[in-house]
Symmetry: C2
Subunit: 803 residues, 2 copies
């Protein structure tokens, strides 16, 4: 630390002025005209995450303008490498000329992503309004055709931008975009593929081959048993399930899902009691053995793919860092990156970051204590980059600065809120509330009316919860309060209950459903037990990844819904399917049993493919599997035998997806449990520990030196104020140094890094062995000619920047 601050004063800023210490490696794209001589801050338009240089007030220092400019270009290219490492973009798509650069910047813009997503969603949502439409949303054909055209134009535009960035030959190599060109012709496939980018679809396909092997095993046994079953049971004429070989196969396929058990067994069983052996053996083999095998295989493959994905991303990031490092080191000191270069990089890579945070990130990376960042230091960049920096408060409470009396009151509330007694009192209140609700509901006769149902207990408990929220907010401070997920949950449940009360008071009928959310308060009880906290935390950790799986599922649903609507719209209606064995479920007539007349209503006609929403519900029912054959047989009886193919395919596809979801959840939990066991880390208080924290101490001298440096390089940079803020904070508190804490939440990647620590070392060793000759070559060449090529496997430079 000491060494560094001294170094910063002596060599850092001095170096800056000295001529000739240009970058070791030159940027690979020709310097665009409009980028000429940009200098320091203020001259960039920041669109989302990306810097777009604009011509502006320029401080021409002509003596080293071209030199300075080459640095700027290097910063930008290094930033792009880092971004590519983060996004797992392959390096052959690296932009090679100014036009490509502009297109690259445009195509890696949040706005552009958003546009892609919106286009995809628009195309999907249009299906709500098209031909077999949801009645209330039906649109005129011109309207939805126009919208569709619009969406397609947008897709074409997006594609053009990518073409411009990649050039046509890379474009052919870049599979994802190739796929896109093809699907331009097929509009809904396009919609799917755009969404696919967000999903785990690739991972799912990678675990397919072993899955298919086991699936064949499953089907093979099914066929054998179908033949056996046909031979054994077809002589029994009262058994419709095995009357032909086809029926026998369909029955056993459905039995695989257990949906027709025990009905499928009953006719045979009533004839001969020993026939149950056939079914028991079949179910034991297929359902309890082969299906579990399927789970095991998917689970195993999934784990393997997960690890490989992690490995390749990790190595890709490392290689990106290598590239960026090469672009940042200077000719005089090829082994290290100085603060100035690092700052230059960060201005492009994280344009929103303040100068203070850039400096703090640099200090965090610099663990070796030398004045420069070594490559080893630089390798941890991705772990440090997401930190949110905050000065560690000397005072613990948000009300420390208040007058004494107020302070005492707040302090009292704070102590109260943090006491065990208060917490357990609240648990008791919640428990009492739960029992109350249960008893109250139990006492109700059915068919009560909502508007007369505002029990006093509701108001009492709501008041208690309201007071609790107020006490906590005042006691802990609003920021500390909302930083805990549990508090947020408490707050929103209480808010909902309050909204429910208002809805009741003002008689707003459509919002009554809020009232019934009251029992959710009971969820708070789960804070008591460690295991539940773990479970719920894992659940929250899982959500982002589950969301992407959910999206995959929706895409499957969507495709099947479209196909289903195409073939089966309006084939199902009350009293249809009278020729099938499941006619009862579709019947809606008066039936005479003995001497009574009853209205028999089979509701299954509601499970149809008449519009996209109904289709989704029907497909969900098929996913749950129970009684799915009723829908299948109903549709089959109204169309052809081949319809079964649709339903069976859907079953197999959802089985794959559901198995992967199971494998996913299993994996996440087993991983977490293993992890906490391996690290002997009890995860006792996940609310506090659930994050990565770095601490950096900044002394007054260091801060001043850095401020000087910044003033010299970019005096008008508005973010200078953040550094001045550091000095002001020191002055105010009278400290000579301040400690800053950088925090971020723990990601799966952090867990994986700890988990595979040993293997990672092997991977790195292997990786550097593979790349060693090349990097050696590079650095040798770099020493020969200061402005040499970037590392060989990646695109060759188009020009030299020292023009």
């Amino acid at each position: 630390m000491e060494g560094w601050s001294g170094q910063a004063e002596t060599s850092g800023p001095r170096d800056e002025g000295s001529l000739g210490d240009g970058p070791l490696v030159a940027c690979s794209f020709i310097p665009p005209l409009e980028l000429d001589c940009i200098d320091g801050g203020g001259n960039y338009d920041v669109v989302n995450n990306v810097v777009i240089p604009t011509p502006g007030l320029q401080n021409h220092r002509t003596q080293n303008a071209s030199f300075r400019h080459s640095w700027e270009m290097n910063y930008q290219e290094a930033a792009i490498y880092l971004q590519e490492g983060e996004n797992n973009d392959k390096f052959f798509t690296h932009p090679r000329n100014p036009k490509a650069l502009a297109a690259y910047l445009f195509a890696h813009n949040h706005l552009f992503y958003m546009m892609e997503l919106v286009t995809g969603l628009l195309l999907m949502v249009l299906s709500l309004c098209e031909a077999p439409a949801v009645p209330s949303l039906r649109l005129d054909v011109y309207v939805h055709a126009t919208l569709e055209l619009l969406a397609l134009v947008m897709v074409a535009f997006e594609l053009c931008m990518k073409l411009r960035w990649l050039g046509f030959d890379t474009f052919l190599r870049h599979k994802r975009t190739m796929v896109k060109t093809c699907v331009l012709l097929l509009q809904f496939v396009e919609a799917i593929v755009v969404l696919v980018r967000q999903t785990n679809l690739r991972q799912i396909f990678q675990s397919l081959p072993p899955f298919i092997d086991i699936l064949l095993l499953l089907l093979f046994f099914m066929v054998i048993f179908a033949i056996l079953g046909f031979c054994l049971f077809s002589p029994n004429t009262s058994d419709p399930y095995f009357s032909t070989l086809e029926n026998s196969m369909v029955s056993l396929f459905v039995l695989l899902t257990t949906a027709n058990f025990p009905d499928v067994m009953m006719p045979a069983y009533s004839r001969n009691r020993w026939s149950c052996v056939f079914f028991i053996v079949y179910l034991s083999i297929e359902l309890y053995f082969v299906m579990n095998l399927l789970l095991a295989v998917v689970f195993d493959t999934f784990n393997g793919v997960e690890k490989m994905k992690f490995k390749s991303l990790l190595l890709h990031k490392r290689s990106a860092i290598d590239h960026a490092f090469q672009l940042l080191v200077s000719r005089q000191r090829p082994m290290g990156v100085s603060l100035k270069q690092f700052d230059g990089l960060m201005r492009f890579y994280r344009p929103r970051m303040s100068a203070r945070d850039r400096y703090l990130t640099y200090k965090t990376l610099n663990t070796s204590g030398t004045p420069m960042l070594s490559l080893q230091d630089f390798y941890t960049l991705y772990e440090v980059i997401g930190l949110k920096w905050k000065a560690r408060r000397s005072g613990e409470h948000w009300f420390d600065d208040m007058p004494h009396t107020t302070f005492l009151i707040f302090k009292g509330i704070n102590l109260l809120v943090k006491s065990k007694a208060f917490q357990y009192t609240m648990y008791v209140v919640v428990a009492v509330n739960g029992i109350w609700i249960l008893v109250e509901t139990y006492m109700l006769t059915s068919g009560f009316s909502w508007s007369r149902f505002v029990p006093w207990s509701y108001i009492v408990f709501l008041t208690i919860y309201g007071v609790e929220v107020l006490l906590k907010v005042t006691g802990l401070g609003p920021m500390a309060y909302i930083s805990s997920g549990w508090n947020l949950f408490d707050f929103s449940v209480t808010l909902f209950a309050f909204l429910g009360l208002i809805a009741l008071a003002f008689d707003m009928e459509p919002f009554y459903f809020i009232v019934v959310l009251r029992p959710l308060q009971l969820l708070r009880l789960f804070k008591i037990k460690q295991r539940y906290r773990n479970v719920l935390d894992t659940m929250f950790e899982l959500f982002p990844r589950m969301a992407s799986l959910g999206l995959t599922l929706i895409i499957f649903y969507y495709s099947f819904a479209i196909v289903g609507m195409e073939f089966f719209a309006d084939v199902i209606f009350p009293n249809c399917c009278n020729t099938s064995t499941v006619a009862d479920s579709y019947r809606q007539i008066n039936v005479t049993i003995g001497n009574r007349t009853v209205l028999e209503e089979g509701y299954y006609y509601l499970n149809n493919f008449n519009n996209i929403l109904s289709s989704f519900v029907t497909l969900f029912e098929l996913t749950v599997v129970n009684n799915w054959y009723i829908t299948m047989e109903g549709v089959t009886s109204m169309t052809t035998h081949w319809s079964r193919l649709y339903f069976m395919t859907f079953y197999i596809v959802t089985m794959v997806v559901m198995t992967i979801i199971v494998a996913f959840i299993l994996d996440a939990f087993v991983f977490r449990m293993n992890y906490s066991r391996k690290n002997r880390e009890p995860l006792e208080n996940p609310e506090e520990e659930n994050g990565i924290v770095f601490e950096v101490e900044v002394s007054r001298d260091e801060a001043l030196a850095t401020l000087d440096l910044y003033k010299q390089t970019c005096p008008r940079l508005s973010s200078l104020s953040s550094l001045q803020g550091v000095l002001q904070a020191m002055d105010r508190g009278g400290h000579t140094s301040l400690v800053y804490q950088g925090r971020r939440s723990r990601t799966k990647s952090d867990l994986s890094i700890k988990m595979y620590a040993e293997e990672i070392q092997e991977w790195y060793a292997e990786f550097s062995r593979e790349n060693l000759p090349e990097t050696d070559q590079t650095s040798e060449r770099a020493l020969d000619s200061p402005v040499s090529d970037p590392p060989p496997p990646y695109p060759q430079p188009q020009g030299i920047s020292t023009a």
Copy 2:
């Protein structure tokens, strides 16, 4: 090797005669009179696996009789220690006096185990004939009461034997036996406990606590949703599923099993389409999240318990070996066990083993090359003990000794059978046969008669298979043929098909079912693909362990069947349950629909608890879960609401057991896959590699020296002939040495040892650290007084054998 054989001649046999080299540690039980001065072979009764010394021809060498005798006692005690290590019996049950020893030997006899098992099974089978009996098996009350009494007397006798062995105070400490005393009073619990010893029940109970936590989470969500559902749907009077809070809970419990989906949703869905959200959310949370969580928790706990079990058994075995080693070392050389002592141990520990095999085992253990077995050598005893020894044949084929012409013919067959072409031809034949059967069955009209159905294709294919079997048996030799599981499978399937043909030819109607086993031939196709071979091999490996889980399941079934028969026998009959919502499923009447009259038969009255077999089938249907609520509601409507408790409890119990079965299969497969990945061992040819092989070379000199040794120590031992056989084999072949191969199949324990190799070293280190002070103490004491106590934590010796 050289060193050893020299040693054997010079010191081994010489030592024997020299006085004073008695055991370092004395046996812990008083020498029983009838064991006095036994010497060498021939004087033991071998009952199953245990040696019972009998007074017989005694060769009194009075000068060292007591000394020799003390060695014999030590051999026996060391053997008992090893047996305890193998069975995981705790050392505090170690027999401490001659009476206890006799009882111990008796209670650890295979006959005794068999008796226990038979008693348990008898008690269980009696339930077939008791009160609600299977009609054809009904017995007079006197008969089954007598049988029951008999079984109980046997239980009492078994218990007495154990009491005699353990002594009363140990008896109180020995939990398993304590439990037994209690259950003597409850006859069927007894039957269960006897069987329980064979099962994984303990493991299941150990994984219960976390399971229960998650179960509570599941039920908690269920209650919350029950309240919500009641509030939302009870105003709809046509919705029977949510009319009261109780109905609401039952409906959601059943929905948890998906058995009433989508029916439970339909009334609400037909009223308001958005009500499907309630059900989708409920199922997503409960079925797809919490249930998977349950699986993850059980899976994880199960894995942990599995590892701990392995660890404790491993350490227990090690400690048993320590004990045995202490008893075998002599005063002069306390660090090693000589062949003589080892042989003495083996005569007790494996009385059926021939002298040759004992010698080969010794040579296998002796890896250090020193004349004695060190403790390190001795530690591998359990891995080596199960080997089956065979001389490695110089000739490869069984027909090598035949005349030349015959040899050539057989050689030709051998080459043919081993050729790829032959194998693939057979695959093609099987495939053609499969397609043939499929097409043939498809062409059949239903209701064919068996006796007219002997197609010529059957005979053709059967002939081909028969010829294949013959060729393989002659080509490979009968022993090599049956040593492969796949060949056995081929053989038995062909045999079945042949029996089926005979049944058809001689018109034996009850055996027709054999004919329909023909498609099983198709299973042979699975040999082609590596993954399937793996799957099936794992399946075979799993069977023994699955069998014990299956037994657990049967015990659960049995208990529930007994309870079910007690409460629900004869409550279900056709046209019962008319007050319930599932009346249709029990109806058996004529119904008029429109103007047609149809016999509607609901077969569910067959799912009853009228006798033990019906109960088992009913319980299996409940296990499969689909439509289980029909049985539940039927029984409930005929009895009380509380009956639901029975069915719900059964559901939860089977869910636990089934989850564990899933975890079990998952575990076995994932373990196997990890293992083969970790060891880079392709498992390419599991038929050949699926075993552990040791090789030992025996030279002529060694064999002679060993024979001398044996002649000196026990000249009349009949097993001497096995050693003479070695020499004869050398003479016949004219070799100066012979190589012997010891083989055994690979167990889970071998896999685990490789898998946890690193951790095992830690465990051992930890284990010896814990036991170090004690063993040090022991060896010091041992040096002070040659006949000292055995290691402290175990029972103190009752006397000294040098009397």
